[in-house]
């Protein structure tokens, strides 16, 4: 194992995880009135830390490591930021920041009003989710990853139930139970691996791993456990209901980030921790589930009467694209291109979907409902929001120039070069269906004949700018030159 490194930049990794964690007691001590201020300061600092980590890793051209407390693995905990980590850390910082800024109007405490519990709870949970995500991206042993995953779940579930309405509570309970089931399967797999190899450190495991029944069983259990949390079809069943009742900021976090956390873990398990255990058939199986998710999710999104549900089923579909990377990465010479495509899909979908969820929140706040049929002419009263929604839709459809386009282009190229025609068909028909459900929304929003719906509350200009900014970022990811995208492979031996 590498010697214990004391690079001073390594402390940044500690800061990324413990910054949000230390914020929580601060919130509890200083109370709800200060929650927003503390939260926003932490968001700004966190973004700075994420950028600092990213620039350090890119400058070094190698992964950044830090050993907590000087205890080297297998006993100690090693934090490690590679290319995949920095990309996801930066995306997380941006989306969490946007969700936090957006929530100022939902969970702010107006001056002179009595303090409520909601802002305190919201900010606490937001920081919990954030700490969980950062830990998922930085931890490098399976047990710490398990704890991070649990932290993520325990933060995300109450966010869903924040409104306190019965359907939100039911959805949260379903989410929690399903997620705990996934955690249990994951932990069972971890136990089996420890029993076989006596370590859970990813790098050590990769050296020791043998292809044998116990390892294969462990891999299967961990994969399925993570799939339940990633909401891959047919284990997506908690996701739409969770979105329906959740506040807009929480939807943005769950659709955009939380499901990506467990996706990153699947890559870690399959590629980093257990190299040589995965088989082509298993990769094809994962991608087949992804394909089913794309087709079923998009078809169901076509049918939804409510905008939030449409967005939720769109997430089910878009998560499917992530899994197409597995067989494509293994079958082609350009395997790295498929991974880049998959990871870019995760990033651009996170940005675009966060923008859409917040846009849906703005629309709901402005007209008091999110029924698509009764949204006629809303483009006239909220042009910025509808424009941002359309831009984000560009990314989801994979139209150029957007992050989604480059991601799907890379996957398409990999599928062609690997002679896996069936995935080509899935990718393009998914694009067609996505166009279909987005058109349903946009054609209603841009209709001119109807009276525009009356506004219940004044437009949230700041929220509109935020939504537009996220959508523009999701497009802008597509303008990043392809060569620079190889940063996702730093420190990953690819």
């Amino acid at each position: 194992m590498s010697p214990v490194m004391a690079a001073p930049e390594g402390l940044l990794l500690v800061l990324a995880i413990f910054g949000p964690v230390l914020g929580i007691p601060l919130l509890l001590v200083l109370g709800g009135r200060q929650a927003e201020r503390i939260g926003l300061v932490l968001l700004a600092l966190g973004l700075g830390v994420a950028i600092a980590i990213a620039t350090t890793v890119i400058r070094r051209g190698d992964a950044l490591e830090y050993v907590l407390g000087g205890w080297a693995p297998p006993l100690g905990v090693l934090l490690r930021a590679d290319g995949l980590s920095i990309v996801m850390l930066a995306t997380t910082a941006v989306v969490i920041g946007a969700a936090g800024l957006y929530a100022r109007s939902d969970f702010g405490v107006p001056r002179g009003m009595p303090e409520t519990r909601a802002p305190l709870v919201f900010w606490t949970l937001l920081l919990t989710v954030w700490a969980g995500l950062n830990a998922v991206f930085l931890a490098s042993d399976l047990f710490t990853l398990f704890v991070a995953l649990e932290l993520l779940t325990l933060g995300a579930v109450p966010l869903v139930s924040l409104s306190g309405r019965a359907e939100a509570l039911t959805a949260a309970l379903r989410y929690l139970l399903f997620s705990l089931l996934g955690s249990a399967l994951f932990l069972l797999g971890v136990a089996l691996l420890y029993g076989s190899y006596g370590t859970l450190d990813i790098a050590l495991l990769a050296e020791r791993v043998r292809v044998e029944p116990a390892t294969q069983l462990a891999a299967a259990l961990m994969t399925v456990g993570l799939l339940t949390k990633t909401a891959l079809f047919p284990l997506h069943i908690w996701l739409p209901a969770a979105h329906a009742g959740a506040p807009a900021a929480a939807s943005a976090l769950i659709s955009g980030l939380v499901v990506k956390g467990s996706f990153v873990l699947i890559i870690r398990v399959w590629v980093d921790a257990l190299p040589g255990v995965a088989t082509p058939m298993a990769a094809q199986l994962l991608a087949a589930l992804g394909a089913a998710a794309i087709l079923v999710g998009s078809a169901l999104a076509l049918r939804q009467a409510r905008l939030k549900m449409l967005i939720a089923y769109s997430t089910v579909a878009q998560v499917g694209y992530l899994f197409l990377a597995f067989p494509l990465a293994s079958a082609t010479q350009l395997g790295t291109a498929a991974w880049t495509g998959g990871i870019l899909q995760a990033v651009s979908h996170a940005l675009a979907k966060a923008s859409m969820c917040l846009a849906a929140g703005l629309i709901t706040k402005a007209i008091g409902h999110d029924r698509i049929l009764d949204m006629g002419s809303i483009g006239r009263v909220m042009p910025t929001t509808v424009f941002a929604f359309g831009l984000a839709g560009f990314t989801l459809m994979g139209l150029p120039p957007s992050g989604g386009f480059v991601a799907k282009w890379l996957l398409l190229r990999a599928a062609i070069e690997g002679a896996q025609w069936w995935w080509v068909l899935v990718i393009v028909s998914g694009g067609l269906l996505t166009g279909g459900y987005l058109f349903r929304v946009l054609s209603r929003a841009l209709a001119q004949s109807d009276e525009p719906p009356g506004l219940r509350s004044p437009l949230d200009r700041r929220g509109e700018r935020l939504v537009l900014g996220l959508a523009l970022l999701s497009i802008g990811v597509g303008l990043v030159p392809l060569a620079s995208l190889s940063i996702v492979h730093i420190g990953r031996g690819l």
């Binding site: 297998p74 006993l75 047990f143 398990f146 704890v147 649990e150 779940t153 325990l154 579930v157 109450p158 139930s161 306190g164 309405r165 019965a166 359907e167 509570l169 039911t170 959805a171 949260a172 309970l173 379903r174 929690l176 139970l177 705990l180 089931l181 955690s183 249990a184 932990l187 069972l188 136990a191 089996l192 420890y194 029993g195 076989s196 190899y197 006596g198 069943i237 739409p240 209901a241 329906a244 169901l300 076509l302 049918r303 939804q304 009467a305 549900m309 089923y313 049929l373 279909g436 459900y437 058109f439 349903r440 054609s443």
Partner: protein, 115 residues
Amino acid sequence: MTLTITSLYGLLGAALVGLGLYGLLVQPHPLRKILAFNVMGGGLFLVFDVVARRGAAAWFPADPVPQAFVITAIMMALAGTALAVAIMLRLFAETGRVTLRPEPPASSDGQGGDS
């Protein structure tokens, strides 16, 4: 092959996991699901303890690391259970009953066909 105490614990743990899994999936009431989850968790921790013996056989009489893992995992299970019970109580307070049967999520309202 004789049945050692380790294998017995392992089998017991596996049985508990199976039992818990069955309950979690089949029992309709959320409280029973939560209990089933805890049964499953108990089995899991037992398996982990068995592993502690096996994995450590080469070096120590018993490996302390999995024990630390199990304690942490128990804390996580506790937190999860507490959260689930809290949501369930809140749900009971809101509606007077507790059920997980959702409204059909894919409600079409019979008007999906305008495209």
